[in-house]
């Protein structure tokens, strides 16, 4: 994980050095050179989908006479929509951009687990299922490098970077249902919903990498950017010391797996240039 971070930082360093060296060349055309460098500032917001990718399974239940793998949770893939909004600060030079995008993110994912008990006959059987919806609020600081594939009003680009995020809130909602296979037709029981705050279970901060592609379009002195990005945390999200502590949901056997958080974000940004030659000059 640290190796990945160092590699990304190295790549960023190479990008900076290359850009810095390019700056030292004497400009042959002041107007053209002016157009090759720009600061952009604007707003960014969008929606996202998350998935927890378990790396180590845990359960508050320890089995006496059955296979522990039956206790594994079943995770949904990118099923719950989240949202994010923030500020986009970008420095552009000769096709390369670097930037930071401090933003607030709400990310959600879900999983289920089912337990069964059985006797000698089919009617001596009972099943309980809980569906968990996990919500996390993150204050994220991404740091990225972009490369514009073409130069024009519409500019497709690719980007990569790293992020650091503070977990500002987390809660989970458990929805219980039970099936009693009594004589006759099985009885399905709505066993209620429980919501609990779980911020303490999460590490205070997390980091990861991001990569994506997008397209920007310049019109009316506004750069509109549509971006699709993938994020993945480097490390685990959960504090080990909180995994099996007594919580509201420990009594049903629920506890967190070790997992890496994956996320796909679709964003739109509206950016404004910060350098002008005159009030009539349009930079692009």
């Amino acid at each position: 994980m640290i190796r990945y971070t160092r590699l990304l930082l190295f790549l960023l360093l190479v990008g900076f050095v290359a850009t810095a060296n390019a700056q030292r060349k004497r400009p042959s055309n002041p107007l053209k050179d002016f157009l090759n460098t720009q600061w952009w500032l604007g707003l960014k917001f969008g929606t996202n989908l998350s998935q927890a990718d378990p790396t180590q399974r845990y359960s508050a239940i320890s089995p006496i006479n059955f296979d522990a793998e039956t206790l594994d949770k079943s995770y949904d893939d990118y099923s719950l929509i989240g949202a994010h909004a923030g500020i986009d600060i970008t420095f552009y030079h000769r096709g390369f951009s670097i930037g930071i995008q401090p933003n607030f993110r709400r990310q959600r994912f879900s999983y289920q687990n089912t337990f069964t008990w059985a006797g000698a006959t089919a009617t001596e059987s009972f099943e309980t299922t809980y569906e968990i919806e996990q919500r996390m609020d993150l204050l994220e600081l991404p740091f990225y490098v972009k490369y514009d594939i073409t130069r024009g009003k519409a500019r497709p680009y690719v980007m990569a970077g790293v992020y650091y995020a503070i977990v500002s809130g987390a809660d989970k909602k458990a929805d219980f249902s039970q099936t009693d296979f009594q004589p006759g037709s099985p009885q399905i029981i709505d066993a209620g919903v429980v919501s609990v705050g779980v911020k303490d279970a999460f590490n205070k901060s997390t980091s990861g990498f991001l990569a994506g592609l997008g397209v920007s379009y310049d019109a009316l002195n506004i750069r509109t950017v549509l971006e699709l990005a993938y994020r993945q945390s480097f490390g685990e999200m959960i504090k080990p010391e909180y995994r099996f502590t007594e919580t509201e949901l420990a009594g049903i056997g629920d506890t967190y797996d070790d997992f890496k958080l994956k996320n796909i974000s679709l964003s739109i940004s509206f950016l404004f240039p910060l350098r002008y030659i005159s009030s009539q000059f349009q930079p692009y």
Binding site: M1, I2, T5, L9, L13, F16, V17, T19, A20, Q23, A60, I61, S62, P63, I64, N65, F66, F91, F115, T116, W117, A118, G119, E124, S125, F126, T128, L141, F143, V162, Y164, A165, Q178, A191, V194, N203, K204, S205, T206, S207, F234, G235, K239, P240, E241, R243, F244, T245, E246, T247, E248, L249, A250, G251, I252, G253
Partner: protein
């Protein structure tokens, strides 16, 4: 632009997030589940093993008997089951109290065919031996404890209608003992049988030795549930009388200072007292200790008391089942002040069986919970030293 790279905050943040160290995980709540629709577990004792794991002695219901059979579980220091062993179904009703001596664990149970007391052993890995009869033809073992050298066994003599307190060697030999009448013409057979086979009719039978060296037991004596002090002579040295089975003491802890901590009940009122004196040489009434009702405690529910040492500080912890089907832990400091209350159990009901201090200055609480609200299973909650630090002010 290169100046940005000299600005250390961003790289530092990324590395901080990547290298956050994992703390050791000491606390846990584990539930030991059994797929069997009919299985009902009633644990009666827990001890910590040398490897930091736990040995649990439990009753489990049997198909052809009203009495619970015996199952032993060994868990590691994270609460993962490592080994399970069941005894032959002729051995039933393990008495509360899993005892440790010279790295072996001992327990008492009874032979279903004649209700005689048996002594069994468990090693550090959870392996059991076939229980052997206790000398003296003792019957109906109800609770066990230990003194410096031997074991203390509380029983019931259904022939002569006596409560019996017996000092037993680790080989089952009879060291000493005495019998005390439950009351002329009184018959506690049904009370004892109900206690053994029904959760709702449990009585707080227990025994021990006070810091003065006297033995004590809580059982039926002189027509009521009484806390009886004795030097194992013909008559008790002191009695704290209850009111038949409607009032009495639920748990006692004898401090080295000579004082006691106790919990008890009177009809539907409940009390917890810490660091109080009990007259071991006179006759008093348990109702005298009812100074303030604790209405959240479930009357006649299980209760346990331990002394907990954290560094230089000593605390008394009283555990009690609550009306909300949780387990309340009341922490008292050395000045007898209640300084913290902690609850175990949410969503499904929780019941209490045992509480012990752990080797690492933590606390382990044993009991049952009802998975899906209906399947009674063992839970073990270890509260680490770190977590106790968060609970205590």
């Amino acid at each position: 632009m290169l100046k940005i790279l000299r600005f250390p905050i961003l790289p530092a943040l990324f590395f901080m997030a990547c290298t956050e160290e994992e703390s050791s995980n000491l606390s846990f709540t584990r539930i030991f589940d059994d797929l069997d629709f009919h299985a009902v577990y009633r644990p009666v004792g827990v001890q910590q093993t040398i490897d930091g794991g736990f040995v649990i002695l439990s009753g489990i219901n049997q198909d052809n008997s009203d009495y619970q059979g015996i199952r032993v579980l060994k868990a590691d220091n994270d609460g993962n089951i490592q080994f399970v062993q069941s005894l032959a179904n002729t051995y039933v009703s393990p008495a509360p109290g899993l005892l440790e001596k010279d790295s072996m664990f001992y327990f008492f149970c009874m032979l279903e065919s004649n209700f005689t007391a048996q002594i069994g052993t468990i090693d550090q890995d959870g392996n059991t031996t076939v229980p052997q009869p206790v000398d003296g033809n003792l019957s109906f073992p109800l609770a066990a404890a230990q003194d410096a050298n031997n074991f203390i066994l509380l029983g019931y003599d259904a022939v002569d209608n006596n409560s019996t307190l017996t000092i037993v060697g680790e080989d089952g030999s009879l060291v000493d003992g005495a019998s005390y009448s439950i009351g002329a013409g009184n018959d506690a057979d049904q009370l004892v049988l109900d206690h053994l086979i029904s959760r709702d009719k449990k009585l707080p039978f227990f025994a021990g030795q006070s810091s003065s060296g006297r033995y004590y037991f809580n059982s039926i004596y002189n027509f009521g549930l009484s806390l009886v002090f004795t030097d194992l002579g013909g008559t008790p040295t002191g009695v704290l009388q209850g009111q038949f089975t409607d009032g009495g003491i639920s748990s006692v802890f004898s401090h080295e200072s000579g004082t006691f901590s106790l919990s008890g009940f009177q009809i539907e009122e409940n009390f917890v007292r810490n660091n109080i004196a009990i007259n071991e040489s006179g006759i008093d009434s348990s109702i005298d200790f009812l100074d303030r009702d604790v209405p959240e405690i479930r009357t006649k529910g299980a209760s346990k008391i331990v002394s907990l040492t954290l560094g230089n500080d000593t605390f008394t912890v009283v555990a009690a089942e609550t009306e909300s089907r949780q387990i309340a832990l009341y922490f008292f400091d050395s000045d007898s002040a209640l300084i913290a209350t902690h609850y175990i159990g949410y969503i499904n009901p929780f019941t209490l069986s045992e509480m012990i201090p752990t080797q690492d200055e933590g606390l382990a609480v044993l009991g049952t919970t009802y998975l899906a609200g209906r399947f009674e299973r063992i839970f073990l909650n270890k509260i680490s030293r770190q977590e106790l630090g968060r609970i205590l002010p």
